[in-house]
């Protein structure tokens, strides 16, 4: 019975796949769509695409030739006003996005994780996310931004932006030509904050606060900064425009989710299980808190993905749409799987599915249309459920809050699916010498892209494993990783912070 059901599900998925393929083939043969593509292709490119500011300047020679003198000055003045207006529009959107992405860590992730632990650890867990909001900000100002985005080698940024030297109101055309570099720096900071915060789910309820802080300092230096530079930094090894293996990662499938998710698994294995796991019950103390947190994550994710367009143009709308559709399908996938296996769809399953869908759509959000977004979200919901409910218990590791199952595995699925579904109709990131759009993903006629994605996934996994082991070993030697057993029983709130989350009788 069960086998017949699963055969039916597989058949359904295959049919869906052909449906998407068919739609995309049909679309490319229609002239109206070609016209739409023309319009799209005049829009700025991907997250760090090179096409940002060409339009205005391209027009200038023609105007100058036909209209010299005072008209020329008037045109120049108008052009300046247009540029200023565009810059103001882009900058206001991007500042909102900065705030939205910070909202994902606190309160979003802090509540999501805080609700999933037992009540004696609620403050300790929330405090880890919150501390990273402060700690990573300081590191970012001192050297983090420079190591990620200053011109440097293929693998790590240089030191020219140390202490944010020269990072001011002037845009940095290598990344975003219409917003102050300060805005770009802040936007990227919010990513650098949430990424390590995601890892904290793996070692929840047992790691020393001091060890967590020291580990995260090392981790951002040896894993996050190099990976962010490789994928997003100008001249990076995996950069989509000009890297050795041009990788499509619109908003952080590799840099954020694979890096944090795989590191989470390494942490869970290195630290070992919580006392009593899995014999003793460790149910979430408040799915309500997690629920609020997940909803905030969903909302903040619009800043994360749509903001990665780095401008308020139509690409931002497209990424916004993909984000919404990916999340929605993720909910359906996870809830359906749970419903079939347990007979009940749970609230925790539904919100976990949303996060899984959002994770998987992250790298794809600026490259795929609505139907692939739904498919990617659905796959992520199923992958997440399978990892968390079936694989984890079979392998027996204690990834307390499933940072690996959700972020590592759904991030990997998303990164690979991006290589399949990325479309030049959405984002013509690759062009030939004559400026015509080339195929982007596998279905779009660029099978090589999938290989690039595989390479990037492999490098991200490798760097996360090696870097995390290195950081864990050092922290283990210097301060020790786990709290003593009696403190673990007592809870992190009291043992690490000297307070309790709930003093309801006070």
């Amino acid at each position: 019975m069960a086998r017949r059901k699963s055969v039916r599900v597989v058949l359904g998925l295959v049919t869906l796949l052909f449906f998407f393929r068919g739609v995309s083939l049909a679309a490319s043969s229609r002239p109206a769509v070609a016209a739409v593509r023309e319009v799209w292709s005049s829009d700025p490119g991907g997250v760090h695409g090179p096409e940002r500011s060409r339009r205005a300047t391209d027009l200038r020679p023609a105007v100058q030739a036909s209209a010299p003198g005072p008209v020329d000055r008037e045109v120049a003045a108008l052009e300046e006003q247009v540029a200023a207006a565009r810059s103001a529009g882009d900058n206001s959107w991007m500042l909102v996005c900065c705030a939205l992405v910070l909202l994902m860590t606190g309160p979003g992730l802090a509540l999501f994780y805080g609700g999933l632990v037992r009540k004696k650890n609620v403050l300790g867990t929330m405090m880890q996310s919150f501390t990273l909001m402060a700690l990573v900000t300081v590191l970012w100002a001192l050297f983090g931004y420079s190591l990620c985005f200053a011109p440097g080698s293929r693998f790590l940024g240089g030191l020219s932006y140390l202490f944010l030297h020269g990072v001011g109101a002037a845009p940095n055309p290598a990344y975003a030509a219409t917003i102050p570099q300060q805005t770009f720096m802040l936007f990227q900071l919010m990513f650098a904050i949430i990424t390590p915060a995601l890892i904290t789910g793996a070692f929840a309820e047992r790691m020393k606060f001091s060890a967590m802080a020291l580990f995260m300092i090392l981790w951002t230096i040896v894993v996050y900064d190099p990976l962010a530079h490789m994928v997003w930094g100008a001249g990076g090894f995996l950069n989509a425009s000009g890297g050795r293996f041009p990788t499509l990662d619109f908003a952080g499938g590799t840099v954020v989710h694979i890096s944090s998710g795989v590191s989470a698994l390494v942490c869970a294995l290195y630290l070992g299980k919580r006392l009593g796991y899995p014999k003793e019950a460790t149910p979430p103390h408040s799915v309500v808190l997690s629920f609020i947190g997940a909803c905030l994550l969903w909302v903040g994710w619009f800043g994360f993905n749509a903001g990665s367009a780095l401008a308020a143009g139509s690409l931002a709308s497209s990424a916004f749409l993909a984000t919404q559709f990916g999340a929605a399908a993720g909910v359906m996938g996870w809830a359906a799987a749970e419903w079939m296996r347990n007979g009940k769809p749970s609230a925790l399953g539904a919100i976990s599915g949303a996060v899984a869908g959002l994770v998987a759509i992250t790298p794809a959000s600026g490259f795929v249309g609505p139907m692939p977004s739904l498919l990617i979200g659905l796959v992520a919901g199923l992958v997440g459920y399978t990892m968390v409910a079936l694989v984890k218990s079979r392998l027996g590791y204690d990834d307390s809050l499933d940072a690996f199952g959700v972020h590592g595995m759904c991030g990997t699925a998303g990164a690979l699916l991006t290589g399949i579904f990325a479309s030049s109709a959405v984002n013509p990131i690759y062009k030939d010498a004559a400026g015509r759009a080339l195929g982007v993903g596998l279905i779009d006629g660029n099978p090589h892209q999938l290989l690039n994605q595989v390479v990037a996934v492999g490098i991200s996994w490798g760097l996360a494993i090696v870097g995390s082991l290195f950081a864990l070993k050092i922290v283990d030697l210097v301060v020790g990783l786990r709290v003593p057993a009696d403190q673990e029983v007592q809870g992190l709130d009291l043992s690490q912070h000297g307070e309790e989350g709930y003093n309801l009788e006070a």
Binding site: P283, K344, S346, G349, S352, Y385
Partner: protein, 112 residues
């Protein structure tokens, strides 16, 4: 004097309380308790992990009553708390030697 202890479903508490007030019970002490008798608990599933919950939430009412009220109060509790399904709870009766009102040191039944 008799002490009446009733352990009942939280969902029947309001009905039991008003039934007791109606027959003239003037004081009671109520606490949230957890426990189990013959009623099996239930399982909860979080991300595929099953948790057996075998201690269920109940409400315990404690009253010390003059003997004339005991019969009626037991009847009132039975009428209000009985659903006929496992898990309705239990009533315990025990003799009480004395009672003392702290405010004016009254003793015996007048102190109730």
């Amino acid at each position: 004097m008799t002490k009446v202890e009733a352990i009942i479903r939280p969902s029947s508490f309001e009905a039991v309380k008003s039934a007791l007030h109606e027959i003239g019970v003037e004081g009671m002490t109520v606490s949230d308790v957890r426990g189990h008798g013959r009623q099996k608990g239930h399982t909860e599933v979080y991300r595929g992990r099953e948790y057996a919950v075998d201690l269920l939430p109940k409400i315990k009412i404690e009253m010390v009553l003059p003997d004339t009220l005991v019969e009626a109060s037991v009847r009132a509790i039975l009428d209000a708390a009985k659903t006929g399904k496992i898990g309705d709870g239990k009533i315990f009766l025990s003799r009480v030697d004395d009672a003392i009102r702290i405010r004016n040191e009254e003793k015996g039944e007048p102190a109730l």
